[in-house]
Symmetry: C2
Subunit: 270 residues, 2 copies
Amino acid sequence: MKRKQTSTGANAQLLARVRALSHRAVRDREDSFWIEGIRQFVQAYDARFDFSAVVYSPVLLKSSLAEMLLRRLAAAGVPRFKVSPEEFRSVGAALHASGVGAIVRQRWTPLDVAARRSGLGWLIVESIRSPGNLGTMLRTAEAAGMTGVIFVGSQCDPFDPVVVRSCMGGMFPLPMVRATPEQLATWGMRDGVQFVGLSPTADRLWTQGPSGPKVAIVLGEERSGLSAAMQKLCTTTVRLPMTGTADSLNVAMAASVMMYEFVRRAQPPN
Amino acid sequence: MKRKQTSTGANAQLLARVRALSHRAVRDREDSFWIEGIRQFVQAYDARFDFSAVVYSPVLLKSSLAEMLLRRLAAAGVPRFKVSPEEFRSVGAALHASGVGAIVRQRWTPLDVAARRSGLGWLIVESIRSPGNLGTMLRTAEAAGMTGVIFVGSQCDPFDPVVVRSCMGGMFPLPMVRATPEQLATWGMRDGVQFVGLSPTADRLWTQGPSGPKVAIVLGEERSGLSAAMQKLCTTTVRLPMTGTADSLNVAMAASVMMYEFVRRAQPPN
């Protein structure tokens, strides 16, 4: 009986910790975030994220792949917590409780390290209001093959549960960087990186800007656009043509079109 | 006192009707839908939608443009219902109640009529599970300048409140059509329209398919893809390259990239 009680106490403590991770301040302080569902779990495992604790409900879990990964993580010494379906649902946000979740360490790549990578080009996010938009954008960045995503300042949190959910873990393999406009300016000077802002008032079309491994697409906030510091950094701005009465494209759509313009130009000629 | 009571009774009746319009069956039967907020209201007015009734709360409404349109609609004989902030909030879904909403007639363009229009090309939607994705896609279609959007069968409802909300009324100027695969086949034969399916297993890249006013991009359901009837119709399929571990792009992102490929090719040469 004693053992059982201890276990329940440990579960309650862990579930409280999971709930607390829905708050930005707690995520920042613990340098961790919560993932949930088979897809996110497998993606985080494959991308070699560092698991702090695994939560599972054998009654709910219906994936032999997830079960195998659970065993591997346990063998590697990651604490795991067996919970009831009710306990799992008390922290799970998904409509259909998958029965698997984990507390995972956030992973940030320093700009200097990331800068050594080569890839299709960079995506820089200054501030995106909607976590759903940010998640979709990260999913496209990974699919398109962008080198990495750089967040200016600390406003955006890619480890927000809504972001993670809306990209379905698709962002995990993508290197993520935090940098100040000053650090970006230094990087630009040192490595010859060009910053291209997306702005509805730009003269040049999105097809007329530079692209490639040494180019970074810079996205500002949905309504207010880029800050003065980031505007100063952008040597080029481009726009997507809009007809009709539409006054703006959804920022995630605009970002996707820009990233696939990079993909298009990187294709070998026919 | 009698007049006041009548007015309250009329309000209650109208608000019940508004609430009922959240159900697809009621929207279909009444051939109407509910719009809410200044932006949707102005967009629907500008696109000359047919207003059946206007609901407004003078206490909440803070837009002189909306107030002017309200007066114009009243002068044109559209019944208007003045409600309290509480009454308005009882039907409003927006976080910040704007104080203006309306019951508007749905507008469908017959395929034969729409087919006479010229534009950038067509978007055909067979079945999109997420109304948010559909709304974002419609907003991009309008911004890109697509000729119109054709819905295959009756599964998708562009007048679903979530669709309307997520495209912020941006879809209103866009002609919307319903057609069967048979009608589309006849149209294709008669007008030489080519149907291009988007499929992750296609051999050709998205840049290698046809584009232009006589080309229709065909999008299937997020997971299951195109039906057999629509696959048969598509003479070409194209794919967007995906690298890394991503197994799919969000359907609205893929659609946006495809539509902007049409925009790109329609640009005059430099």
